[in-house]
Homo-oligomer: 396 residues x 2
């Protein structure tokens, strides 16, 4: 009577959502200030002031029919050109608006790209830990997910394992740097080695292997000294999936883009397939007002000081308490080894201290937990004794 897979996807409460809802109930019981909810990756920093100023300016000064009307399916050309020029000025690339396809956020960037590329028997390689929806998107397009665990404790790519995972069916590798949930940023050396391996495999199989670079956290890197390569500059068959959700704190507005550089094999045909996939999935065009907001605010940055303060507080304190933490250069996640083998049991125990953490099993990385530090610094400070007590309960 209905698609049972869609039913399962809709009926299955996600682990994160379940913890979030437990948290809301618990807050009602014991007061919001007494629950330390680190479960949800929703930006806690408001959008830059210019976002709201631009919204009001546009509705006051632009013709309503033009402002709220359809744009072309790939997006308003001026918006696309502005995005291309911004990338060119930052990364020394030579993109134009013709390379940019505006999307309804990061998830749409991924589903449209995957549906555009996907043929029968295709495999998409993901590096664990990875955002759980990758599996939903890849399987939803009828392709197979191939998981390659990252190296520990650096959480950079394990190239030996990756080389073994690539087959003649491999359509693409999906990377996400800065990473959700590890917070790790891939180094230039990692991306160069990846490019080298992919070129070797392309030559071996006589076909392109695409690198899908999922970059919603691109702008969330905390130290100027961090090595932050731009993968599309290093590997020619890179397709960028971007979202403005985290960079200017607009996750609910659903605005992002796909960038298909001219260096991509048959780039024009692939861009056309992207347009076709957007059409088939029902996207029509990205929200028109927010296309223009994104372009007007392309140089705006979210205030990173809160996230950085939270990161520093948590990393230092938790390390001191005896936790093993992956040092996060970016995103707003701290990835921590659970103090027992079963991360779910560990998270249950953490609840006794009112700490809401996410076991990383659903990120295909058992034994770890994700701490989302896109929360108030005040809450971080108040939570530290609870983390200390949790460590102590494990004899640390």
């Amino acid at each position: 009577m209905y698609d049972s897979k869609m039913y399962e996807l809709g009926a299955a409460a996600s682990v994160i959502r379940t913890i979030f809802e437990y948290g809301n109930a618990r807050k009602k019981e014991i007061g919001a200030d007494n629950v330390f909810d680190f479960s949800i990756g929703n930006p806690s920093v408001p959008a830059p002031a210019k976002v709201n100023e631009t919204i009001c300016d546009l509705v006051k000064n632009m013709d309503s029919v033009a402002l709220h009307g359809y744009t072309s399916s790939a997006g308003d050309y001026e918006v696309r050109q502005t995005i291309a020029e911004n990338l060119n000025s930052r990364f020394g690339t030579d993109y134009s608006g013709d390379n940019v396809y505006m999307t309804v956020g990061a998830a749409a960037s991924l589903t449209v790209t995957i549906h555009a590329l996907c043929e029968a028997e295709d495999e998409f390689v993901v590096i664990a830990p990875f955002f759980p929806e990758y599996r939903v998107f890849i399987e939803g397009a009828g392709a197979k997910v191939v998981v390659v665990p990252a190296m520990k404790p650096s959480f950079q790519i394990n190239f030996e394992a990756l080389e073994q995972a690539i087959t003649p069916h491999t359509k693409a590798i999906i990377i996400n740097s800065p990473n959700n949930p590890s917070g790790v940023v891939y180094t230039t050396q990692t991306i160069e080695k990846l490019a080298e391996l992919l070129r070797k495999k392309e030559a071996e199989y006589g076909k392109p292997i695409f690198l899908i670079s999922d970059e919603p956290y691109r702008e969330l890197v905390y130290d100027v000294t961090t090595d932050t390569p731009f993968p599309a500059k290093i590997y020619e068959n890179t397709i960028i999936c971007y979202s403005f959700s985290k960079s200017i704190s607009l996750p609910g507005e659903r605005i992002g883009y796909i960038l298909v550089p001219n260096s991509v094999k048959e780039s024009k045909a692939i861009f056309a397939a992207v347009c076709g996939a957007g059409r088939a999935l029902g996207f029509v065009c990205a929200p028109s007002l927010f296309q223009r907001v994104a372009a007007a605010c392309i140089n705006e940055k979210t205030d990173l000081t809160i996230y950085r303060t939270n990161r520093d507080l948590l990393y230092q304190a938790l390390t001191e308490y005896g936790f093993h933490c992956v040092y996060p250069d970016g995103a707003f996640y701290l990835f921590v080894e659970a103090l027992e083998e079963d991360a779910e049991a560990f998270c249950d125990k953490a609840k006794a201290f009112e700490l809401l953490l996410v076991p990383a099993d659903s990120f295909d990385c058992p034994g770890y937990v994700r701490i989302s530090y896109c929360v108030s610094t005040d809450m971080v400070r108040r939570s530290l004794p609870a983390f200390a007590a949790l460590a102590k309960s494990y004899g640390k």
Copy 2:
């Protein structure tokens, strides 16, 4: 290397788009005032003033993190409840927010519903003429399109043909009233007869047959005397697909909803499948600001006087010139018999009079043309001599 079907969808210029682009080039050659472009169905009436007022109010007065943050995947519950209550007060239904799933516009309402319902070997019946993207959405979900031509000249449903088209594989019938491109509104008698037939076939095959009621033009009906039934009130297995694009002139902002009434067989499971399909296709949530705008403006109406004036002018004049026009009770389209068998040749001839009309072949209704009258009344008036001359060139 990429999905060839997606490539074809992206590379194929739609008939409407091609005419629209010819129009833009022609306007540059001979001046915009000398081209009578009736090709595009983009609302020409601005959004009600309250839309822009609400946008500014929200960005000024609501917390930025809450306003621009994720809503739940089905949408903000207050917004969903407001929509349900509005329908209840208008149609005497008893919906709640739990029946409403917010979408990224009409196309998303359809793709999400179709993907939620679609199982192997499913057939979806459409009544010709129909919006060409129906075919893209149905085939994109892996199902088969079954076309049933409407009765002429009333363009109501041909029940004999429909009965023959329904098989044990029929998952749903899609209707669109007021209709794009015919402008026809289905009568209560039509919907009641449809309900009767579907119930009979459900009993025969021992399974539900859903009615997907695609209602983006619901609010665009010009005469208070027009019989405008609410299909979900008449047939229990109706799922409503709605969009605010036309009702408050926000086509580019991508906001709409799916409504699954409790009367639908296994409605809770189907609602879950809708949530799952939204997730798999990459929608996450509908744009958060415009969810709230839609709720705040639920009682706003676009100014229909311009559309009605245009309809009356065109229908009267064209009928007088010897054209056979379907009388449009709603939407903003006039459906006219071409003056020769080949509607494409007829539209080519119309170009000589600077009239840009859309042949209805892509709507699966050869021999007709669609005139979109969501244009300025001034252009309609100035175009009339060209229509007269076109008729005369055919000896009318």
